[in-house]
Symmetry: C2
Subunit: 251 residues, 2 copies
Amino acid sequence: MTALHARISGELADRIRSGEWPPGQRIPFEHELTAQYGCARATASKAVQALADAGLVERRRRAGTFVASPRIQTAVLEIPELKTEVRRRGQVYDYQQLARRVRPVNPLDPDEASLARSGDVVELRCRHFANERPLAVEDRLIHLGVAPAAATADFTTVPPGAWLLAHVAWSEAEHRIAAAAADADVAAALEVPTGTACLVLKRWTWREGKGVTFVRQRFAGEAFELVARFAPRSFDQGGHEGRPTPGMRSK
Amino acid sequence: MTALHARISGELADRIRSGEWPPGQRIPFEHELTAQYGCARATASKAVQALADAGLVERRRRAGTFVASPRIQTAVLEIPELKTEVRRRGQVYDYQQLARRVRPVNPLDPDEASLARSGDVVELRCRHFANERPLAVEDRLIHLGVAPAAATADFTTVPPGAWLLAHVAWSEAEHRIAAAAADADVAAALEVPTGTACLVLKRWTWREGKGVTFVRQRFAGEAFELVARFAPRSFDQGGHEGRPTPGMRSK
DNA sequence: AAGTGGTCTAGACCACAAA
DNA sequence: TTGTGGTCTAGACCACTTG
């Protein structure tokens, strides 16, 4: 049994996505929906508000609710935890710590300065493997002022990402994605020729506005892709065949 | 005046993000919130449901509502329309069509096959400029079965992305991001050496499950980054200084 | 079996923007 | 000024899950 407000949302969304109601078109008022569906206004309101939350419509007092213009440029990016993602693909995950040290923050490095301007960090370099082949090289900083337990944590067996997920509560993050040629060190770690094009994923994580960790992961060549899907939230019931699953995927 | 349900949501979210309520912690029942805030249950329900929609909590019948475990791996990716983004950065945008032809779909190309398995497409290659320097090379296919007007549209002055936004209603999209070395053609178009690491952004757009367009944009080197922000939806009121704005940015 | 969240109703008042 | 969306109330019934 599907809830009435969901049915109303779905039927309105269908009309919008089919083009029957083009962008700018006014959709029925709430009181019209209560008449059409024989429901209370709160139910109609919930249905329309869901469309507004999804970005499909815009609501204006006194004027009504209107079909919004498409904004394809926002998408949900699924940034997988490597261990989970590798196993989801049915491959063997492995992990190796290459280096570890504690040092003060270097405020001259712009990536580091975005994390914090002072204090000590644990600096790690490690590798992630899929089926015993190098998948990514990871450089990570963990701010000891925010996560002091990282000073004594053992990252030779536990990847820092997994450790942090278990030891740090809800947070915000920012990701930046770019391409860069592999330098000699990175190329050696990834076992590819120097100069190979790499996908570079950088992530900063904050907790209550204070930088917790910065991580830079490099993936060799076109071997891996980040996938982002856009679909109006909560209205993706109609799966389309022939399209791969979101996530990071190997070629 | 902030709505009561928003105040409740905010206060609950603060306790979660501060770590006062760690993942797995049960938060107050709805009936407890109605007592604490002196409101109706619908109001408390709306507040908690907003947290659930944002992914901060998980609700289980008969058990209660619990703080969710952080899932940093999902983020909202802002994929800018190039014309808009270049101008937002205060630069001069320019556009050039390099090639155009109409041909049948090639079902042997996996990128094309994800768009459609038959029918005719308009194939375009064009360049985007920022301050008269090449920013991106774009290869695009538009399926004439879904967008027949594209057969007669003039893409020598109007970028196909902008044209499609104006001529195609709400749609779904999937993005894939990878790195690749520039081949001779791409390198020439971007005015960089052959082999330069490029960020490759591919996007498929569907309308009612039918492929509308496929586009592949290549950006040279580390000159451009895609930015994705993660923050629980609707609870990002506390902006943090020192962090750049989302979007695509030049170095 | 009990109690939670999920849903819905039939009202109400208000702010605000459009006419 | 008018009518829309935004919000809220005080009930109610139900499904589901867990103890």
